[in-house]
């Protein structure tokens, strides 16, 4: 009896609770609902990048037999957008089109062929306007405004000047400045966008299955754009084939599908192509960064100054938040006070980017870390020593008021240095081989929600009934990251029961509590805490029931998970017996748990937009990348990556490893091969061959160390695991290439053609210098 105890779940490598469905093919993704007897939705897209809409003539399309609905911008009365202050997009273009591929009409028909015929029968009359494909063109003085309310095509400019930057530069032993250019990249999540919608004409009710990370936001935008009571709408998130931020705002696909279903009075499946998914990419914007850093001879950072220009698209999306993150997250990782930042988010006639994994921080971190590495070289310092000279001491607040309560970066540095054999191998590898390192961090959710309603940041419900099972209801969108598994673990751990007792149901607006969605790595911290709170509340109910039955005060009841007893000699009550006692008089038990962020975590007020970046906890990561560069072809092979990630308590070490490997690898794609390309606004990389996602062939082993600097407020001490180690790869790669062949890259992706040119430039420069030297000697 004495050896029995609560089942331990937290900290145990745990397969995903929905894993069996995924490996057997039973998991239902949005497109899998569509193959049933439903209408086929299709979208007609703009052939021009910028134009006034004169007429979209759909009269012929409507006459085609089998066509059940045809919609245009005339059917759209309301705009949508993820930020309440930037809702300037119609589901179907109404007065203007602002990028090539923007939806202008949509049809629902009995089959694909008929739908295509209907699209072909639609004519689009327009008056072309000047189109801008670069931030520079859109910012030019004579450029016309894409949106009246955004003069000069500036979506948002952000400026802060904290501390004494000039003094910092004056006192620095070394000041260096560099310009960086990062290509636009896309998430290319495995599943193309898809939505299935069913409109019930009898009851005037709409049910939508969107491929989204944010079912709650989709619900709000359906209410707004369909001008329909939100109580008549039900949003059910199906299995999701990845997100990475691509679907962290409502997309036109979802709204168009619902509109078609209502117009046709039935069921519509709208599955868009991979090319259309690229057009609706909401990826990381093309970014130009000017970075200037002042450093003391011992590596201490004294000041930084940075300008960031992001090429946005034809609509706002998350743009304002992206440029704010770019500035605020210069802080939070190192001990530095004086930073000046000028950020510009520009509207152009391109498909809008969005909030891709590492939102706003990645290209800035690349520039900052790469420049630190260059300066370390110049000062003759080890890059590890430079990082160690600037570590934060938790608990603290950064100079822009970000709260830092846990900080494991020092331990991350120690591990990657040791595991990679840095001290023995750095500088001693054969020609063409090199090592590079860098650090990174990320938020565990934004402490200030976009839709401020005064509600808690997360709510979890638990139901317990006669069968002794615990049903966990959460709005947290399971997108493949393992949120349902995480919530299940939290509840099982608190109750001390096997996870098999817990059934988790997620993201059905008719059943589960509202959740803001899966983005900015908020779910483990916020929903995890709400799940712990709910489970504690349930445990109290059960403990009180056990106390009644055992006839002892509740504080004398010991919970062993499957057994509740009063003292070690007591045989105790089984979980089922306790549940039956708890049900007496009250019936089915439902309890709730919530989580709300601390006010002091919600960022500062030192400049406009300073709340962005405020979070309950930061994750930290360090990584070492080893490369081989082919001297003839300039091809880079990544031989190995060592990464240490501080995620606080690792609730599920298996998932943490998977998230960290995926992040590092996604950073590798951006650093080496990925980048969208356009011709006059027309995407020419709209497939997975021309847009080069790394295959298994060139993907390296990635060794992960989990560092657990437990956070005082995280669930069991946990914090973010799915984004923080991405951005470090980029500067670690450029540093490794510099170590290998002495060439420094500032533009990404570092494809062989780009690197070859840099190598040739260097060879010419070296030759010239050698010639000058010999001339001087002579």
């Amino acid at each position: 009896m004495n050896d029995m105890g609560p089942v331990q779940t937290i900290g145990v490598p745990t397969p995903l609770v929905d894993g069996p469905e995924k490996v057997t093919g039973r998991a239902m993704f949005a497109a899998d609902y569509c193959v049933a007897d439903s209408l086929v939705g299709r979208i007609l897209r703009s052939p021009v990048a910028h134009a006034k809409v004169k007429k979209v003539d759909v009269s012929k399309a409507r006459e085609i037999p089998g066509v059940k609905a045809v919609l245009t911008g005339e059917d759209c009365n309301q705009t949508f957008g993820v930020l309440p202050i930037a809702q300037n997009e119609y589901p179907l273009a109404k007065y203007r089109v602002r990028y090539r591929g923007e939806p202008i009409a949509a049809v629902a028909a009995v089959d694909v062929a008929t739908a295509q015929k209907a699209l072909d029968a639609i004519t689009f009359e327009y008056e072309e306007l000047p189109a801008y494909f670069t931030a520079e063109e859109a910012r030019a003085e004579d450029a016309i405004d894409l949106h009246e309310e955004r003069p000069g095509n500036i979506e948002r400019d952000v400026h802060y000047d904290l501390g004494d930057v000039e003094d910092g530069f004056a006192k620095a032993d070394l000041v260096m400045e560099e310009e960086y250019q990062c290509a636009e990249i896309a998430q290319v999540q495995s599943e193309p966008h898809a939505t299935y919608a069913e409109y019930d004409t009898q009851r005037d009710k709409l049910t939508v299955w969107p491929s989204t990370q944010v079912p709650f936001y989709v619900h709000l935008m359906l209410e707004r754009t369909l001008e329909m009571e939100k109580s008549r709408i039900r949003v059910i998130k199906p299995q999701l084939g990845g997100g990475f931020g691509c679907r962290t705002e409502t997309l036109n696909v979802e709204l168009i599908c619902a509109m078609l279903a209502r117009a046709a009075g039935g069921r519509v499946g709208l599955v868009v192509s991979r090319e259309e998914t690229f057009i609706t990419h909401r990826g990381r914007p093309e970014t130009a960064v000017k970075m200037k850093i002042g450093m003391r001879a011992d590596g201490k950072l004294l000041a930084a100054q940075s300008e960031c220009v992001q090429r946005g698209g034809g609509y706002s999306g998350y743009g304002i938040v992206t440029i704010l993150y770019a500035g605020s997250m210069l802080y939070g990782i190192y001990d530095i006070e004086a930073i000046k930042f000028d950020g510009y988010r520009v509207l152009t006639n391109m498909p809008p980017p969005g909030a891709m994994r590492g939102h706003g921080t990645v290209n800035m971190r690349f520039a900052f870390e790469d420049l630190m590495d260059r300066m370390a070289t110049k000062l003759g310092l080890d890059p590890f020593a430079v990082r160690r000279a600037n570590l934060l001491k938790a608990p603290t607040f950064t100079f822009n008021d970000l709260m830092v309560n846990s900080y494991g970066l020092d331990e991350c540095l120690d591990w990657v240095e040791e595991a990679s054999g840095w001290k023995d191998r750095k500088g001693k590898l054969p020609p063409g081989k090199g090592l590079g390192m860098a650090c990174s961090h990320y938020v565990s959710g934004a402490s200030k929600p976009k839709h401020w309603t005064g509600e808690p940041h997360a709510t979890v419900n638990l139901k317990v009934d006669f069968d002794g099972s615990v049903t966990l209801l959460t709005g947290a969108a399971e997108i493949g990251q393992g949120s349902s598994t995480m919530a299940t673990q939290c509840v099982a751990e608190v109750l001390g029961v096997d996870m098999g007792r817990v059934h988790t149901i997620s993201s059905d607006s008719a059943i589960t509590p509202k959740d803001n969605g899966s983005y900015s790595s908020r779910v483990t911290y916020m929903v995890g805490n709400a799940a712990v709170d709910a489970a504690n509340n349930l445990k109290n109910v059960l403990t009180e029931a056990a106390a009644r039955k055992l006839e002892v005060p509740p504080d004398q009841v010991e919970c062993l998970g499957e057994v509740y007893r009063a003292g070690t000699q007591d045989e105790g009550l089984t979980f089922d017996e306790v549940v039956m006692e708890a049900l007496r008089d009250t019936g089915t038990i439902t309890v709730k748990g919530t989580f709300t962020t601390l006010p002091e975590s919600q960022g500062g007020k030192k400049y406009r937009g300073a709340a962005i970046g405020g979070t309950m906890a930061f994750s930290y990561a360090a990584q070492v990348v080893e490369v081989t560069v082919d001297p003839d072809t300039a091809e880079i092979s990544v031989d190995k990556v060592w990464v240490a990630h501080d995620c606080g308590k690792a609730l599920n070490p298996l998932s943490v490893e998977g998230q960290v490997q995926g992040s590092v690898w996604m950073g590798m794609g951006q650093a080496m091969t990925e980048g969208t390309r356009y011709h006059d606004g027309l995407g020419i990389t709209g497939n997975m061959l021309d847009y080069r996602v790394p295959t298994i062939v060139e993907s390296p082993p990635i060794e992960v160390k989990i560092v657990e600097a437990e956070d005082p407020h995280g669930p069991f001490g946990a914090k973010e695991a799915g984004e923080g180690s991405l951005s470090g790869f980029l500067p670690a790669l450029t540093a490794a290439v510099a170590d290998a062949i002495g060439v420094r890259a500032a533009d990404l992706p570092l494809t062989p053609d780009v690197l070859l040119k840099l190598m040739e430039d260097k060879a010419r420069a070296d030759k010239k210098a050698a010639a000058q030297d010999s001339a001087e000697v002579a």
């Binding site: 397969p15 469905e21 057997t24 998991a27 495995s190 193309p192 990845g242 690898w665 298994i696 990635i702």
Partner: protein, 162 residues
């Protein structure tokens, strides 16, 4: 579009269907057979999510006409479970987190299945070569390679015990 008679086996069951000549195998499987485990992740031959086994060999079902499978044996991810028990590969992908979002997984598992049939003890290079046409965006492939090795280890341990 003219139609043809298609006689084949899908996951061991004989079927006779009349299908349009231009129907892709993937559409036939998903829409006619109702086997939606096979996924479509791209516009043709880019991602490998639709990988199935035709007469023992891995094939992109999105690059294969259904009628070209007349008289052949087609296997999809739904075929791997035996008496309600997942195959060694399925268990390994589940337990080693070879599947995160799960969308590429059916294709990834069928490509791995094809590999293990002709190379029962693959090394890392064998796995990389055989899965080169299957894109995963979640895992960085590390745990996919581990999953294939784990399936092999489990199968060999079982065979040794027998």
């Amino acid at each position: 579009m003219s139609k043809s008679m298609l006689s084949l086996t899908v996951n061991g069951r004989t079927r006779d269907d009349v299908v349009p000549d231009n129907m892709l195998l993937v559409d036939y499987l998903r829409e006619v057979v109702g086997a939606t485990g096979t996924k479509v992740g791209c516009d043709g031959g880019e991602c490998g999510a639709c990988t199935v086994i035709v007469d023992g060999k891995a094939r992109h079902a999105c690059l294969t006409l259904a009628v070209s499978c007349n008289g052949k044996a087609v296997e999809t991810v739904e075929s791997l479970e035996r008496n309600g028990r997942m195959s060694a590969l399925q268990r390994a992908f589940n337990e080693k987190l070879g599947a995160q979002c799960g969308f590429c997984t059916p294709g990834m598992i069928m490509a791995s299945e094809a590999l293990l049939r002709h190379t029962p003890n693959p090394n890392d290079d064998d796995i990389r070569r055989e899965l080169a046409a299957n894109i995963c965006r979640c895992t960085g492939y590390v745990k996919i390679i581990e999953s294939v090795h784990a399936a092999v280890a489990e199968t060999s341990a079982k065979e040794a015990a027998e």
